[in-house]
Each structure stands twice: as structure tokens, then as C-alpha cells.
């Protein structure tokens, strides 16, 4: 328990530092936010007009489709909020500062994963949640559904965590992680709309391999009461397995660490 409080305190301080660093670049930060808001707005408008004309998308109504989109954003933004530091990992290793992180009595994994919580993303989360609750209202979910939704979202975040851990483990070994991250982002972006629209084998890949389907589409479906008990169970198992494997991988990667030369 004591360790947990300590880690939380460190995370808090790091996020605070991160936030303060960001404030010194106000202009860039605001442009970024505006850009993100615009992109979000454009896509919503798109869905709106599309469904106005087409009525359904792969069998889902407008509200449902919007809900999928919102859920996607929640998972996406939450993982960017927590794991923004992963994008800075490569420069960290290349410059040798990773050494300094390794030599501290705090898990280097923790530090490299969550050391740079992005406040800008944090700001966009409450409105997202508000939006989700609003739209969900139209879908009339039962309490069971809602609970499942929340649990599955957490599971989705677990998978995202596992993925980020895997990425930085790769980063230790090869340094070529920027591409890995981009591919990840591209693939998860396919989850903006319900995975059902994709044909096999793409849908299979998205559900089981890079489990965007499980991270995003599944929770939303759960809310709408469209999932089976097996499906849910399977996805939890996947989430746990993913974390386990990625942690193993990280430890392995450390033995291969070569450090920037001097």
C-alpha cells in the first residue's frame, strides 16, 4: 500500500511538472487543442450528415454510431493522456537520459510509460464523458450493460497499456519505435467506427491481433446489449494475458539494453 501511495505521489509530481512545462509553451498547446477539437467536430459532422442520408451504417443507427465514435475517443484520449511519455521514449534513450532514469529507485517502466501525463488530453476527457452519458441516454441501457461497459473500457485501457509497454520494450532493443507507434495509431484509428463494417480478414485482425475491436467496439456493444458472456470473458482474459506478456517482454528488453555510448 505504501508503495502505491508513493508511486501515486511521484506520478502526481511528474504530471504536475509536465503540466508546468506545457504552460511555458502556451501557444503551441492551444493550437494543438484547437486542432483536435476541429478534427473531432468535423468527424461528428461527417457522421451526422452521412447517417442523415443513409439512415444506418452496418445496421447501426445514428445514435449508436456516434456512441461508437465517442467510446473510441475516450479510450484513445485516455491512453494518450496517460502514456504521452512513450512518444518521447526514443529521444530519451538516444540522448542517454534513460540511464539516469534506470538508476533511480523507481520503476523505470513506470517512469517511461507514465512520466509525462498530457494535461491537454485530460481537459478533453470530462466533456467526452458528458457526451457519452448523453448519447447513452438515447440507447436505454440497463445497469448490467452499463457496468459491463465500464469494465470493458478498463479492459481496453489495459490492452492499450500492454501495447505501450511492448512498444517501449522494442524501443530499448531497436530504437525504431516511432513507426511502431504510428502503425498502432493508424490501426486504432480504424476503430472510430464499429469494427463490423470491415470484411474478414481485416475484422479478425482488428478483433484479435491488434485488438481494437475489443478495446473499443466491444464495450460499446456491451452497452447496447449486443455481446455474449463468452465474448466478454474472452476479452478480459486477453487483457490480462496482454499485460502479463508485455511485462515479461520489458524485463527481457532490459537485459539487452546497450545504452548510448560515450
Amino acid at each position: 500500500m505504501k508503495t502505491l501511495t508513493r508511486y501515486f505521489k511521484v506520478w502526481w509530481l511528474m504530471s504536475k511538472n509536465s503540466f508546468m512545462s506545457m504552460l511555458t509553451q502556451k501557444f503551441g498547446a492551444s493550437v494543438f487543442i484547437i486542432g483536435k477539437l476541429l478534427r473531432f467536430g468535423f468527424f461528428v459532422a461527417f457522421i451526422f450528415f452521412l447517417l442523415k442520408g443513409a439512415n444506418t451504417l452496418a445496421g447501426y443507427t445514428f445514435n449508436q454510431t456516434i456512441f461508437f465514435f465517442l467510446t473510441f475517443n475516450l479510450v484513445d484520449v485516455a491512453s494518450q493522456f496517460l502514456f504521452r511519455e512513450v512518444y518521447r521514449f526514443r529521444p530519451l534513450v538516444v540522448s542517454g537520459e534513460f540511464d539516469l532514469i534506470l538508476s533511480k529507485p523507481i520503476s523505470a517502466l513506470f517512469r517511461s510509460l507514465m512520466g509525462g501525463a498530457d494535461v491537454l488530453d485530460l481537459i478533453t476527457i470530462p466533456p467526452l464523458i458528458a457526451g457519452i452519458i448523453y448519447v447513452a441516454g438515447f440507447l436505454n441501457p440497463s445497469t448490467v450493460h452499463i457496468t459491463l461497459y465500464i469494465l470493458l473500457i478498463i479492459n481496453g485501457l489495459l490492452i492499450a497499456t500492454a501495447f505501450h509497454i511492448a512498444v517501449i520494450s522494442f524501443g530499448i532493443i531497436t530504437l525504431e519505435i516511432d513507426h511502431a507507434i504510428m502503425i498502432y495509431r493508424d490501426l486504432t484509428n480504424l476503430g472510430r467506427l464499429p469494427v463490423d463494417i470491415y470484411m474478414e480478414p481485416l475484422r479478425g485482425i482488428l478483433t484479435y491481433l491488434i485488438p481494437v475491436g475489443i478495446m473499443v467496439t466491444l464495450p460499446a456493444k456491451a452497452l447496447m446489449g449486443l455481446v455474449s458472456a463468452q465474448g466478454v470473458l474472452l476479452s478480459f482474459l486477453l487483457g490480462l494475458a496482454a499485460i502479463f506478456i508485455s511485462l515479461r517482454f520489458w524485463n527481457f528488453a532490459l537485459t539487452k539494453y546497450t545504452s548510448a555510448s560515450s
Binding site: V31, G35, R39, A45, F46, A54, L190, L193, I197, Y198
Partner: protein
């Protein structure tokens, strides 16, 4: 990668092959999607995204000292980049074509094709001017030069040029406003011409608007550039 999203999206909307929506049928919409892939490589790929970086690092001084026209230098680099990207896009299109097997609409009317090429040329020039303009903001904001680029090119141009969805799904009034801006002429308009969805009159109107924008942007670019250079030299980097 986004191709998949867009392609399957429309595939699913038009899963019934006889459906007609927003003036598109399945064939036309899928052609649109593939067309965007190719045209994007021609119009939107550019190396001039590096200009802001060159300015903020001060590297631009080297070029100013040399007897070359900075614009032409970058334009040539852009063209070569476009050629490269075009070959990749063509490859991608072929692969995706065989994977997804859509029916594609091939334009056969010679006059229309000619106008199509003309619109492409206009698109390339427009984008160049736009991109450059947005980059030389770096003269005044070296730290944040990337910001304008991000906002305008990555976000605004992506959507408003028809890169994500064809602009005709938007209500008529909105479309009218958009057509006054340069963005639709980058991707959407050329594709519309190709698909034969416009009357000759509409095509000509569009081309004229496009030309207007090229001229206006080029002129504006020149003005801003001169001011920017003066500012740059005043700072003395």
C-alpha cells in the same frame, strides 16, 4: 491505412449495389475513394512541409545567399516527391484493388479528361502556395512554426478538401460556402470532374474559381514572403 476505414465505410453504406445516395452509386463512391488515394499523392504530397523547420533553424540563410529562386527550388523538390509518392500510391492502389475488388468507373470522355488534368494542375499550384504560406509563418514564430501547418494542413485541409468524405454529403448551403474557399479544389473538385458529375458550366465555374485562388494565393505569398524576409534579416540570424 485510413483507406480501409473509408473504403469499408462506404462499402457498407452502399452494400446494396443499386443504392443511390448523394448522387453516388457504389461504383462511383468506390472510385472516389481510390481516386482520393491517387490524387492525394499528386496534390498533397510535398516536401515543402520542411520549410518552417528550415526557417526556424536558420538554415534558410544558406539558400538566400545562393542565386536560386527559393520557390522554384522547393517546387522542384515537391514535384520529385510527388512523383515518388505517386508511384507508391499507384502500387498501393493496385494492391488494394486486387484485395478489395471494387468496380471502378473509368472516364472516357476526352474533353472531360482534359479538364480533369487542368484541374489537377490548379490543385497542385494551389496547394503549393497554401503550404508555403502556412510555413513562412515561421518567420515570425520560429518556435511555433509548426502550429499553423498542423492546424491548416493536417486538420482543415484534410477535411475540407474532401479527403475524408465527399463534400456532397453536406447540405447545399454549406457546400456553396465551401466552394468559395480554395480547399475543395485540391481533391474534391478534380475528382468530381473525373467522375463526370458536373455539367460543363459547373466545371468551368470551378476552374475559374480555382484559378482565382491560385493567383490570389501566389500574390499573397509573394507579399508575405517579402515581409517575412525583411523581418528575418532584421532579427539577424
Amino acid at each position: 491505412m485510413q483507406m480501409f476505414l473509408v473504403f469499408f465505410l462506404w462499402s457498407s453504406v452502399f452494400s446494396d449495389p443499386s443504392r443511390e445516395l448523394f448522387g453516388y452509386n457504389r461504383e462511383k463512391i468506390l472510385t472516389y475513394v481510390f481516386g482520393i488515394l491517387v490524387i492525394r499523392a499528386i496534390v498533397l504530397s510535398a516536401r515543402a512541409v520542411d520549410v518552417a523547420g528550415e526557417i526556424s533553424r536558420g538554415d534558410i540563410t544558406n539558400y538566400l545567399l545562393k542565386p536560386i529562386n527559393y520557390f522554384r527550388y522547393w517546387f522542384t523538390r515537391d514535384i520529385s516527391s510527388k512523383a515518388l509518392n505517386l508511384s507508391f500510391a499507384a502500387l498501393e492502389a493496385v494492391i488494394l484493388f486486387f484485395l478489395l475488388k471494387p468496380t471502378i468507373f473509368i472516364q472516357t470522355n476526352g474533353a472531360i479528361l482534359a479538364l480533369f488534368f487542368l484541374s489537377l494542375v490548379i490543385a497542385v499550384l494551389t496547394f503549393f502556395c497554401l503550404l508555403f504560406l502556412v510555413n513562412i509563418v515561421a518567420f515570425w514564430m520560429p518556435e511555433n512554426g509548426w502550429a499553423a501547418q498542423f492546424l491548416f494542413i493536417v486538420i482543415i485541409a484534410e477535411f475540407l478538401s474532401g479527403g475524408v468524405f465527399p463534400l456532397d454529403i453536406l447540405p447545399i448551403e454549406t457546400q456553396k460556402v465551401l466552394n468559395l474557399l480554395p480547399f475543395p479544389y485540391l481533391l474534391f473538385f478534380p475528382l468530381q470532374v473525373y467522375l463526370g458529375k458536373l455539367t460543363i458550366a459547373a466545371i468551368l465555374k470551378g476552374i475559374l474559381t480555382g484559378i482565382f485562388w491560385v493567383v490570389a494565393l501566389a500574390f499573397g505569398l509573394r507579399q508575405v514572403w517579402n515581409r517575412g524576409i525583411k523581418h528575418y534579416e532584421a532579427i539577424g540570424r
